[in-house]
């Protein structure tokens, strides 16, 4: 019941008041010209749009360059992790692989806010992709240094069953 009461108090409508209380009936204050403002709006709008496009382009480039910092950090982390296979190095390597991949998968979404008919996002996009690919390459290189890529003969023959023998021979010391 209490909840119901509280609910009733939450919002109330005054139906009695007349609907004709709009501002249109009230005269504009002095010096306020509704028509000139509309004009101004059109003029300033163009300027603003230009600025926005420039800002967007700049932002897009920034976003495109962001993986570079990431790349440097990854490189540092990898150097720290060493070349032996253990939890730390594997974690870093896989995050180094996963980050570029996920970034590449969402490349459209990342550049979505900066999409504009006047902004050319192709170049930043390409840079972004290139940097991420570089990150990926770094990850793969790290994977290789850890010896986790099957690039050696040993990786392909390590579980190769022994070859069958054509001949069979048996015998030994004669039973006395």
């Amino acid at each position: 019941m209490e909840k119901g009461k509280g609910l009733a108090r939450r919002w109330a409508m005054e139906f009695a008041e007349s609907p004709s209380s709009s501002s249109y009936d009230v005269p504009d204050p002095l010096g306020f010209d509704r028509s000139s403002q509309d004009l101004d709006d059109a003029n300033g709008g163009r300027q603003k749009k230009d600025a926005e496009a420039a800002w967007k382009a700049q932002k897009a480039w920034e976003v495109a360059q962001a993986p570079f910092k990431n790349l440097m950090m990854m490189g540092f982390m990898m150097w720290m992790a060493g070349s032996t296979v253990h939890l730390f190095s594997i974690g870093i390597t896989f995050s180094a692989l996963w980050q570029p991949i996920s970034a590449l998968r969402s490349v459209g979404k990342i550049f979505e806010p900066y999409k504009d008919s006047r902004v050319d996002t192709l170049a930043p996009r390409l840079l972004f992709i290139a940097l991420n690919l570089a990150g990926l390459a770094l990850g793969v290189w790290k994977l290789n240094t850890l010896g986790l890529l099957p690039t050696h003969a040993s990786d392909w023959v390590s579980s190769l069953a022994p070859a069958q023998e054509v001949e069979f021979s048996s015998g030994g010391i004669t039973i006395h």
Partner: protein
């Protein structure tokens, strides 16, 4: 860098599971140990009050033991050395157990209650002769008791108190052979009687004080003696003549020797052939063994012999037992189909039996071989008798009041070969629930275990947990298990008995005294040789039970005819037996099976002809198809020759035999007899599985193992150095190790160890050999490893080709392609001498290997193969450390926790057998000697299963608690969210 080093170290630690030790409470969970003594040769019953309930025995396995007469348990036991055969035993002073061993050269006294050795005397003889022990039954304690020992041509009088030799007298003159030494009761004269040559009889009378000869008489008997004598009284002997058809009674009273000849055919009407005197000591009578039976003969005077009773074979007569003063008793055991008749007679009344009992006897025990009689006083003051009976299968029984009180399966002390068999698959009718009783019991058990894990259990509960673990019905079931731990170990004993042991607890499932190896007209001295897998139904013929093949032969020589016997592994019944028309010098199980999954076997006879079994059309067809690729080799140790042969159809027999094949010598390796003598050989196990042919090194490089089943390891030593360690100088001793391909006879590798000497033990597995020998220069034992790699495959390193599968690494290889090999080897010192060596075997060969070393202390030590890696260096690089290479040390470590047998000893250890379980990580180990021991080990720990004492209850409770927690938090969060929304 520090981080990296730390992490590297951590990995190294994780990799190096040096020990797979047990906790104290895990003992007996997976292992069992059974103690045996072997076939009893002699037994004496202590008469002193303290030892009344015991019997002391000596056995053919050189064991002396004291057994409990009530239960048959061992009070104490000593296993003497391999060549220290016990010849005679007796009891002196009522408290010492006297043994004469090593052909009469060692006399020892053991304390009866605890088996401690009291003294030991070495008796040096000049000529080898029969050894005799005589302990005068002197009850007068004031007088010093002297033990008379005749051995090596010398008569020694030894003090029974401290083993000091009081006097000795040489008799090794003029081909004199002393047959009996005795001292009549309360007399100072010792009699020594014997033969000079074959026809002269000689009596010496010696003073017991000084050993000087008082009187010496000889007399000759023209028709000669065969050497057997039986002492009838203190002045009379009975001997057999040279033809073994007449008895000669010899009296030598007061220096006058009289002979009297009685033909056995006069005593026994149906006598024919040869007779033998039984070595039993009776007064006034003796026992003659003839072809048809045993005959008791009373001696009334020199010329008067009288047959008392005749027992048909099989029968056995015990020694005489003195009861209450003058009365003497002896026992006769006779067979009557599945029963035995046990009769006791008194010497006063030989016609009647004091006691006659009939005992039901397991036909698988065979005939009675020996009887030892003992008496006890019943509650009504009359004499009761019990008998210790040794059966044909070497088992030991105690019979009392018409019942078998206990029995010991002592044939298991002389296992000569073994194999394994899977148990039957669990049938649908038999469900696990039947074993697990009910859910409540199951839960209770697990709650107890949980308490144990959480250390909440009281001592009583801990005991309950231990008992529950030990009698866990799961491990003793008679069905196949998922992990392959439950199997049957089928062992063949020297007595020709086959026993199936359950790996769960070592109980005997069935036993069979092989009827085909029974002595018969056609088969004089049958002996069992080996046991092989005959049929293992796997895919086909599933309705049939698996069976094993026992190969035996009718006689000691190598051209004696062979005997085959096929025995069902589940029921223990002989399926069929075969008397072969040829001899057996080698049995070769082929890697071929016929349509009913019977394994093909080639038997090579003394004429070097091969006979194929089973003798069916089908098997011949299969064999002919593969014949051109089948080779065999024989190693002649005496001549130092190894020969390789191929097979071809047709035999040089009179009758056409399509199952017989001729052999043709292809190659031979002759070792120069003046410089080399074959000491040991080793080959890979037939059923060994190798997982991979490549060995990957730390730097991603690959080495290809030379894996061949046809590899033979031969070690030869200098002929001079073939004897004991230390018999030659290091300059005169050397050891040459060979690796030989047995198809082509090619010597793959040869290495000489200067200053090394046997005994050599070797084991071959995968692509390596490990052998153990003595280094005379370093005065230490050494172990060497040789690893052999295939150099011809080494250039298969192109990744692209490997990715596309364009390589010939898996195509069949022929030994005739003569692949180049590369060898790596290394040697290490080892502390122990080795009795047996084996290597672990797993189902797929993935698990790392361990060497199982039977040490001189009769224990089995597990040593990681990684310690015997020829790539070990003193300072391994970081990469090598990561690979698991242990820094090189000059000797191999012995880690106390690595003893597979933990605190137990497998006395007289002779063999170690490894059987792969179905679980890849686990190997079953069966070691045998006088004792038998079984356990299972995991060389790399059980990485593929939870441990047996894993607390499922804890897991279950954790899961339940987690699920409950999830629900509770979910409900709480729901409520909170709703409240948030209403705010």
């Amino acid at each position: 860098m520090a981080v990296r080093v730390c992490l590297g170290f951590l990995i190294l630690l994780l990799h190096s599971n040096f020990s797979t030790a047990l906790y104290e409470d895990q003992v007996g969970l997976a292992d069992w140990h059974q103690k045996y003594i072997g076939k009893v040769k002699q037994a004496v019953f202590p008469t002193q009050r303290t030892g009344k309930k015991r019997v002391v025995v000596s056995t053919e396995e050189n064991v002396i033991a004291s057994l409990d007469l009530r239960t048959g348990d061992i009070f104490w036991r000593h296993v003497l050395g391999k060549d220290d055969h016990v010849d005679q035993i007796d009891i002196a002073l009522g408290k010492y157990f006297i043994t004469l061993s090593s052909e009469g050269s060692i006399l020892r006294a053991w304390n009866l209650p605890d088996g401690q050795m009291m003294w030991e005397s070495a008796l040096y003889g000049s000529t080898p002769s029969k050894s005799l022990l005589f302990v005068p039954a002197n009850t007068n304690l004031g007088k010093e008791n002297r033990i008379l020992v005749f051995s090596g041509g010398w008569l020694h009088a030894v003090s029974s108190i401290d083993g000091e030799i009081i006097w000795k007298k040489e008799f090794a003159i003029d081909r004199l052979e002393i047959k009996q030494v005795f001292q009549p009761l309360e007399s100072d004269i010792i009699y020594a009687v014997g033969f000079v040559g074959s026809s002269q009889f000689s009596v010496y009378q010696l003073s017991s004080k000084s050993g000087e000869v008082l009187k010496h008489n000889t007399a000759s008997f023209p028709s000669g003696f065969c050497g057997e004598v039986s002492l009838v009284s203190s002045d009379m002997l009975v001997a057999l003549d040279a033809t073994r058809s007449a008895l000669i009674s010899i009296s030598f009273q007061s220096g006058i020797i009289n002979f009297h000849q009685t033909y056995i055919s006069d005593l026994l009407q149906d006598f024919s052939g040869m007779a033998a005197l039984l070595p039993v000591k009776f007064t006034g009578m003796f026992a003659v063994k003839t072809v048809s039976g045993i005959c008791l003969v009373r001696v009334k005077g020199v010329s008067e012999l009288e047959v008392i009773e005749k027992f048909n074979h099989p029968a056995s007569v015990s020694d005489v037992l003195t009861i209450s003063g003058e009365q003497q008793a002896f026992a006769i055991v006779q067979h009557a189909e599945t029963k035995i008749d046990f009769k006791v007679k008194l010497d006063k009344d030989l016609r009647n039996d004091v006691l006659k009992e009939t005992v039901e006897m397991d036909p698988q025990r065979g005939h009675v071989q020996k009887v030892f009689i003992n008496n006890y006083i019943r509650t009504d003051k009359s004499h009761g008798f019990r008998a210790l009976i040794v059966m044909e299968d070497h088992s030991l029984l105690l019979v009392q009041q018409g019942e078998i009180v206990w029995s010991r399966e002592d044939g298991l002390a002389s296992i000569i070969d073994s194999t394994t068999s899977e148990l039957p698959v669990e049938k649908e009718g038999v469900s696990v629930a039947k074993v697990e009783h009910n859910l409540f019991e199951w839960l209770k058990g697990h709650v107890l275990k949980l308490k144990g894990t959480l250390m909440l259990a009281s001592p009583d509960e801990i005991a309950a947990i231990q008992a529950m673990r030990l009698k866990s019905s799961e491990r003793n079931k008679m069905t196949r298990d998922h992990n392959g731990f439950r199997k049957l170990i089928i062992v063949l004993t020297r007595a020709g008995k086959l026993l199936a042991l359950h790996t769960g607890d070592g109980r005997v499932i069935w036993s069979l005294l092989l009827p085909s190896l029974h002595r018969s007209e056609a088969c004089g001295h049958p002996s069992a040789l080996n046991i092989y897998q005959w049929q293992v139904p796997h895919h086909h013929a599933m309705h049939e039970n698996p069976s094993v093949l026992v190969v035996g032969r009718c006689g000691p020589s190598h051209d004696a005819l062979g005997v085959f016997s096929v025995v069902d592994s589940y029921t223990g019944k002989e399926r069929n037996s075969l008397k072969l028309a040829h001899s057996i010098i080698q049995v070769i199980p082929l890697p071929l099976t016929d349509s009913t999954e019977k394994r093909l076997h080639l038997i090579i006879d003394a004429n070097l002809q091969a006979h194929l079994y089973p003798r069916t059309r089908d098997s011949v067809n299969i064999f002919l198809h593969e014949m051109s690729n089948i080779y065999w080799h024989s190693i002649n140790v005496g001549k130092g020759v190894i020969r390789g042969y191929s097979l071809r159809s047709g035999c040089n027999l009179d009758v056409v035999d399509e199952y017989c094949f001729n052999t043709k010598e292809l190659w031979r390796i002759v070792f120069p007899s003046e410089s080399e003598k074959i000491a040991t050989t080793a080959t890979r196990k037939m059923n060994e599985v190798v997982h991979t042919q490549a060995k990957v090194l730390a730097d991603q490089d690959v080495m290809y193992k030379y894996i061949s089943r046809n590899i033979l390891f031969v070690a030869t030593v200098a002929p001079k150095a073939a004897g004991e360690i230390g018999s030659v100088t290091p300059e005169e001793a050397w050891l040459v190790a060979y690796l030989i391909d047995t198809v082509t006879g090619r010597i793959l590798h040869r290495v000489t160890h200067q200053g090394a000497q046997g005994p050599i033990r070797a084991v071959v597995s995968e692509n390596w050999v490990v052998y153990h020998y003595f280094n005379l220069r370093a005065h230490r034992y050494e172990m060497s490893v040789i690893e052999i790699y295939d150099q011809s495959r080494a250039d298969n390193k192109d990744v692209r080709k490997l990715v596309l599968g364009k390589h010939n690494l898996t195509s069949p290889v022929s030994s005739y392609s003569r692949p180049e090999v590369m060898v790596k080897s290394q040697s290490y010192f080892f502390t122990h001498s080795v009795k047996a060596m084996a290597v672990t075997a797993t189902a797929k060969g993935i698990t790392s290997l361990q060497l199982l070393i039977g040490t001189i202390g009769d224990q089995v030590l597990a040593l990681d193969k990684r310690f015997l890696d020829p790539r070990r260096t003193a300072t391994p690089t970081q990469a090598e450390k990561e690979e698991g290479i242990i820094p090189l040390t000059d000797s191999l470590p012995i880690i106390p926790q690595a003893y597979v047998t933990h605190a137990l000893q497998v006395e007289g250890l002779r063999g170690i057998i490894t059987i792969p379980a179905k679980l890849e990580s686990t190997t079953l180990v069966f070691s045998y000697g006088v004792d038998i021991f079984f356990t299972r080990i995991a060389p790399s720990r059980t990485y593929d299963s939870l441990t047996e004492d894993f607390s499922y209850a804890l897991l279950l409770i954790t899961i339940v608690a987690l699920v409950a927690a999830i629900f509770v938090t979910w409900i709480l969060s729901e409520k909170k969210e709703l409240r948030e929304k209403w705010r």
